[in-house]
């Protein structure tokens, strides 16, 4: 049989639909890519898989029968990594479970399962870093605003954290890289997309009048809490890698 390339719409349900199709058509030689993938193999058989909620639901239901919520969560988070090729690892994970019809989701000596667990940890780390390093700026219209560009698509994972925490203030977290954001309007969180031409983060005209003062206070606090005789740059950089400095008020504000 020819090598088959399955193209899906980039959603988790889309990937699960691919798994359904792999079983339905008994495929053995295949690869899976999200839309926008430029393939060079002209002889391969390429097919666009239409996301089908009924099919994806059946795959997930069967998987849950053998495993646990924890396993599904681990796979979903690994999926959000958007690492090229993660789809195949996920499919192998599903197949391993379906083949043995028992919960092998902690079988770390099976390479795809260890791989998924490792990616899951990376995504978890990125999620935690966003929860830590996001710095809101208060705008004139009383919205706390921030832009992010995380390595992985963690916005769906951090929603609950920020909603629980900042229930009494309006906020927007905008993922520049993926061009969508979340807006909390004091009642619910809605997805939004923004045009940044007239909404630049560092435009002082849109900031609340006290905003810069509070940023400076924070910077003073940050500097004062350092103990110079214990300076440890290696450890500092290990905790706050340079690629995250752009988020941090204490690293970017000019006094």
């Amino acid at each position: 049989m020819h090598h088959k390339i399955l193209i899906y719409d980039g959603t988790f349900q889309g990937l699960l639909t691919c798994i359904f199709q792999i079983y339905e058509e008994k495929l053995s030689d295949y690869s899976i890519h999200p839309e926008g993938y430029n393939q060079t193999d002209f002889f391969a058989n390429k097919e666009l898989v239409i996301t089908d909620l009924e099919k994806s639901g059946r795959v997930l239901k069967r998987f849950k029968e053998y495993t646990s919520k924890k396993a599904v969560h681990r796979i979903y988070r690994a999926f959000l990594s958007e690492i090229p090729g993660v789809e195949i690892q996920i499919v192998e994970f599903f197949r391993h479970i379906f083949r043995h019809k028992t919960d092998l989701s902690d079988d770390f000596s099976y390479p795809p399962i260890l791989k998924i667990a490792q990616i899951d940890r990376k995504v978890g780390r990125e999620k935690h870093r966003m929860e830590a390093f996001i710095r809101f700026e208060l705008l004139k219209d009383d919205i706390f605003f921030t832009k992010i560009a995380p390595d992985f698509n963690v916005l769906p994972l951090i929603l609950k954290h920020f909603k629980n925490r900042y229930a009494d203030q309006k906020w927007i977290i905008y993922d520049e890289k993926r061009q969508f954001g979340l807006f909390y309007d004091l009642k619910k969180v809605v997805p939004i997309s923004l045009n940044f031409e007239n909404n630049s983060k560092k435009d002082p005209n849109i900031l609340h009048e006290d905003e810069i003062n509070f940023q400076k206070l924070w910077k003073s606090y940050f500097d004062s809490s350092n103990i110079k005789s214990r300076k440890n740059t290696k450890l500092h950089l290990q905790h706050v890698p340079k690629r995250y400095w752009k988020y941090l008020t204490e690293k970017t504000i000019i006094m």
Binding site: L104, D106, D107, F108, S109, Y110, P111, L114, H128, E131, A132, F133, I134, R135, F136, E137, L138, F144, T146, H161, N164, R165, Y166, A167, D168, Q169, L186, D210, N213, F214, K216, L217, W218, S220, Y221, F222, D223, S224, S225, N226, I227, K228, S229, R230, K231, N232, T233, K234, L235, H236, Q238, H239, V240, L248, T249, E250
Partner: protein
């Protein structure tokens, strides 16, 4: 808000608070209710790190650095010629709320120099916490210092608003305290500790019958000891720590390498190094006690009063107890696996899970992330290749040191000493 004046106070009072190393913001269970501000039911978060590599999770400040005491080790001691300042209660509340809303911090850690007397100071700290909880509907983390000598009534009230309370023992031995802080009494430290412990026990009892019992210091209490200010041994420090863990149900004991801040002849000179490696070894020992099932007497005793600086305390223990090894990775129980050098609790968990499905060999262990350079001398697995030779403890130690690197190497390298003598 007068930002310039606040900035000045903040600089003085943050600088004075930085020697308190606790930054924990975890272990509480305060959920956001009634659409208020903040939530401290999850894990702790470090929002930034200082250039010395310490976590910044709380706004850690003193209410004032005016103090009636003259403790030699303390930067805010009465006789020290430094700038003094004091926050108003409302100023601390405003700073906390505004920092929290911008996601700078997890909450507030409020300590204070002692002005007038213990109760007067404690009352002020409580006022800040009460205002945050009741007027601002704030559910973030609050850590208050228990002022030595504060009354039972105040300590009871403090726990109703704070997530964590702490008294710093600072000097691990009673004789050391007499030397460095002759005005303070050991009993004054113990009194609020005892009260908080009893309140927490009582809360847990009542909670079983009355669900609406108000929370009392849900993240428990902690304490801190300075390391290297007086001549105490590692054994003195850790036996003392162990006592506080057991006697007062401490959540954490912190160890703070003494940072020279004074030319007082009772203390190490102002040019002496902060004992950071020693501090690190004490924390490792602390972890072995709390998570790895070790008894303090196994790690430190009369024959072995100080920790090795060149190897970690678990490896050091294993080398003294070679008769217990090698351990079979595929059959040993959890507690024994945890005692193998190079195996952390995370690796132990993964091994326990993975070995249900197949026998593990070196490749598996490597993939799981075991530090084989240390572990390989102490384990056997599903392979015929293992260290069959009976190495002596010293041989193993030098082999391991050769294959690892440490930024502290210069602190304990014997070759460097020889070189010094020659010059």
């Amino acid at each position: 808000m007068n930002f310039d004046r606040i900035k000045e106070k903040l600089e003085i009072l943050a600088d004075a608070a930085k020697y308190d190393v606790s930054c924990s913001s975890s272990g509480s269970n305060r959920k956001n209710t009634k659409n208020g501000l903040g939530d401290s039911s999850g894990m702790g978060i470090c929002h930034s790190y200082t250039e010395d590599g310490r976590c910044v999770s709380l706004l850690k400040i003193l209410l004032t650095n005016h103090c009636i005491f003259d403790c030699a080790y303390c930067v805010t001691r009465r006789s020290n010629d430094i700038k003094r300042a004091a926050f108003k209660v409302q100023e601390v509340v405003d700073l906390t709320i505004n920092f929290y809303r911008r996601n700078y911090i997890e909450g507030l850690f409020l300590s204070s120099g002692i002005f007038k007397d213990a109760d007067y100071t404690m009352e002020r700290l409580i006022k800040v916490a009460k205002k945050l909880r009741e007027e601002e509907n704030f559910n973030g983390y609050i850590h208050l210092k228990s002022i030595p000598g504060a009354s039972d009534e105040l300590m009871r009230e403090a726990g109703l608003y704070a997530d964590r309370l702490s008294v710093n023992i600072e000097v691990p031995t009673v004789s050391g305290l007499k030397l460095l802080a002759p005005e303070k009494k050991h009993e004054d430290f113990i009194k609020p500790m005892e009260k908080v412990k009893n309140e927490i026990i009582q809360f847990k009892q009542e909670k079983k019958f009355i669900k609406s019992t108000p929370k009392y210091a849900p993240a428990g209490q902690s304490t801190q000891m300075i390391v290297g200010a007086t001549g105490e041994s590692d054994r003195d420090i850790m036996y003392s720590a162990n006592y506080y863990y057991q006697q007062y149900n401490m959540k954490r004991v912190y160890y703070s390498g003494y940072v020279p801040i004074s030319s007082d002849p009772r203390l190490p000179t102002i040019t002496s190094q902060v004992p950071m490696l020693r501090e690190n070894r004490l924390y490792q020992t602390d972890w072995l006690l709390r998570f790895y099932g070790f008894d303090i007497r196994e790690l430190l005793n009369n024959h072995h009063p100080n920790l090795d600086l060149d190897i970690d305390p678990k490896l050091s223990w294993a080398l003294r107890n070679q008769h217990l090894f090698p351990v079979n990775i595929n059959t040993a129980d959890k507690m024994m696996l945890a005692r193998v050098p190079g195996l952390g609790m995370r690796s132990v968990y993964k091994i326990l899970q993975a070995r249900k499905y197949r026998k593990l060999n070196w490749e598996h262990l490597k993939a799981i992330g075991v530090a084989l350079n240390r572990a390989k001398y102490f384990i056997i697995c599903d392979s015929r290749l293992w260290e069959k030779k009976d190495w002596t403890a010293n041989q193993i130690k030098s082999k391991i040191i050769k294959t690892s690197s440490s930024k502290f190497r210069k602190d304990y390298s014997t070759q460097l000493n020889l070189f010094d003598h020659a010059s």
